[in-house]
């Protein structure tokens, strides 16, 4: 165990814990209202939203998993860069409309909007359940990020107490009890305030890493020279197949389309104080993408540093596979005080999204399941109370998941998560522009997309999300989220046309065009 690093790590962790509780008093509102607890009162301006969304979208798992792919498989892992480039024009063009209609009608979740726009309970429930199911393994993966950071510090996961015995995952348990308490107490204000610390630490880590490590390794030329020449680029298309380039493009596109359908992304956006804040953030959030791109290259640096063959990291690689590449590189390259800062950045980087994700799930459950089906007469205070309790349950579930089940499970479910959440795109995104899609057509399209996507992922034994599509004897390796979404859209559009022609039911729409602009 590295005492200096652990001391700094614990000190930074304690600092954000205090901030988490103090946050309740920040921009004070009545935390017994759901939009105050779960959306920070829709009061966050450009700067706070920038920190909040940056802290929310660029998760600890990203910082571990993306470099891990570059470390293990080379160029393919860099798809995360076009992914984060393509996200923001969509946010810019589309999401101010969602913000405006949510503000006008008091919507807290995407499912609230779908319910109002299409007047169909079943469709709203499908959107809400998809959101919750896709987010749960995402929260679990934040714990993996934290686990890797804790392991990198040399802290044992099993803590033995005299008289009680050994508790597996004790450090994670402590971290998550603390997280659960301040989220319960302060709601979305807690991760918003902590995001400031997270992002500051993260930028420090990135700047240090891209300056110091290449110097230690003898320059960028040497780093890329050490990479496997076969995976430094993507393989070229052949006469029979578009090959990895199609996989690369569809992974980037599919991830882009899925990202802002995730409940935690919607929650972050809706907490901003105006549609102008949403637009400005689309323009300035790419600053994080740049940090992400540089962090991705840590995977390539880890290859050049040769951490995999170093005996002191053998145990870590055995436990976490390639996900240990970044922690090993950090321990190998930095003095121990900075190792503490770096791992605190990763661990706190897990806390912020985990908090926002659990709040987003709680908002969905409260609004679209509890209020809709269990207690329609629930008061504002009752809503906030249910949401607070659900946020605890969600985190406990994720913790159980990670301690009791193999990590690969969470990764496989996360892979499926993107394929599931993207199926809500026609209801949410197309819904922002038209109410002429028939709700039952949307629901059947959603089901077709979920079915096809899950089938393709299952055909890969949930180990990969690229499924080859063969058209006229030509193979296109395609991210299953994209191909299943195309099926979903075709089914939705064709059936909407048929249902509208046959049934002639007028749309049951609570909103008018003026709500969107």
């Amino acid at each position: 165990m590295n005492t200096t690093a652990v001391t700094i790590f614990v000190a930074l962790f304690a600092l954000v814990t205090v901030l988490g509780f103090v946050a309740a008093r920040w921009r004070r509102g009545n935390l017994n209202e759901l939009h105050e607890w779960g959306l920070g009162g829709r009061r966050f301006g450009t700067i706070v939203t920038w920190f909040l969304l940056g802290g929310d979208l660029y998760t600890a798992y990203t910082f571990i998993a993306v470099p891990a792919v570059l470390f293990g498989a080379g160029a393919q892992g860099f798809f995360a860069v076009p992914y984060t480039i393509l996200v923001y024009p969509i946010v810019y063009a589309i999401y101010p409309r969602l913000w405006s209609v949510a503000q006008a009608k008091g919507y807290v979740t995407a499912a609230d909007f779908v319910r109002g726009r299409f007047g169909n309970h079943a469709l709203a429930l499908a959107v809400a359940v998809t959101g919750i199911v896709a987010t749960m393994p995402y929260i679990a993966l934040q714990l993996v990020g934290m686990e890797v950071a804790i392991a990198g510090l040399g802290i044992s996961m099993d803590t033995t107490f005299p008289g009680i015995g050994t508790i597996h995952g004790f450090p994670l348990l402590v971290a998550f009890v603390v997280l659960a308490l301040y989220t319960y107490n302060s709601g979305l204000r807690a991760p918003a305030l902590i995001a400031l610390v997270k992002d500051a630490l993260l930028y420090i880590l990135v700047i240090a890493a891209v300056i110091i490590i290449p110097i230690e390794l003898g320059g960028w030329g040497k780093i890329f020279a050490a990479a496997d020449p076969k995976t430094l680029l993507l393989a070229a298309p052949t006469a029979e197949s578009l090959g990895p380039q199609a996989a690369y493009a569809t992974l980037a596109l599919g991830s882009t389309l899925a990202l802002f359908l995730y409940p935690h992304a919607v929650t972050g956006l809706l907490s901003s104080s105006s549609r102008h804040v949403v637009r400005r953030n689309a323009v300035i959030l790419p600053a994080y993408s740049f940090a992400l791109g540089l962090i991705a290259l840590l995977g390539t640096m880890a290859v050049a540093a040769g951490v995999k063959s170093m005996p002191q990291f053998a145990e870590g690689f055995k436990a976490f596979g390639n996900q240990y590449a970044v922690p090993a590189l950090i321990v190998h390259s930095f003095p121990s005080w900075f190792v503490g800062v770096a791992f605190a950045a990763i661990a706190i980087g897990a806390l912020v999204p985990a908090a926002i994700m659990s709040i987003a799930c709680a908002n969905l459950f409260t609004r679209n399941i509890w209020k809709e089906y269990v207690n329609p007469a629930v008061s504002g205070k009752g809503e906030a109370q249910v949401a607070k309790i659900v946020s605890l349950v969600v985190k406990a579930g994720a913790l159980f998941f990670i301690i009791e089940l193999p990590t690969t499970y969470a990764i496989q479910l996360q892979l499926l998560g993107g394929i599931l959440i993207i199926q809500t795109l026609p209801s949410v995104i197309f819904g922002l522009y038209t109410n002429r899609l028939h709700p039952w057509a949307l629901l059947i399209g959603w089901g077709a997309g979920i079915g096809a996507g899950t089938w393709m992922a299952a055909a890969n034994a949930f180990k990969a999300s690229i499924y080859p599509i063969t058209l006229f004897g030509y193979t296109i390796p395609c991210y299953a989220a994209v191909s299943s979404l195309i099926l979903n859209i075709i089914v939705t559009v064709v059936l909407s046309w048929a249902f509208n022609a046959l049934l002639r039911t007028p749309p049951s729409d609570q909103t008018v065009e003026a709500d969107y602009i």
């Binding site: 160029a75 860099f78 860069v81 076009p82 984060t84 480039i85 393509l86 923001y88 024009p89 810019y92 063009a93 320059g219 960028w220 030329g221 040497k222 780093i223 890329f224 020279a225 430094l232 680029l233 993507l234 070229a236 298309p237 380039q245 199609a246 690369y248 493009a249 980037a252 596109l253 102008h276 637009r279 400005r280 689309a282 323009v283 300035i284 790419p286 600053a287 993408s289 740049f290 791109g293 540089l294 290259l297 008018v512 065009e513 003026a514 602009i517």
Partner: protein
């Protein structure tokens, strides 16, 4: 106004499509040369597009904000 407010398409929004064309055309950047400071084209070109992708949104943003201010 007696007519409901209608969305109108503004051609400047087409700028937002440029990053999609650039990034989806993987073949255009899947190569090593030219390198910058030892970084292959594939890597620095995509990093550069993070900046360009943000840059194309700026004129669109300015146009939209001006437009919305004048409608009020």
């Amino acid at each position: 106004m007696d007519k409901p407010k209608r969305r109108h398409f503004r051609p400047i929004h087409l700028l937002l499509l440029i990053p999609y064309v650039a990034m989806m055309w993987v073949g255009s950047y899947n190569r090593i040369a030219p390198e910058i400071a030892g970084v292959p084209f594939f890597y620095w070109y995509q990093l550069l597009w993070i900046v360009l992708g943000a840059a194309v949104m700026i004129p669109v943003y300015l146009a939209d904000e001006r437009d919305e201010a004048s409608r009020k």
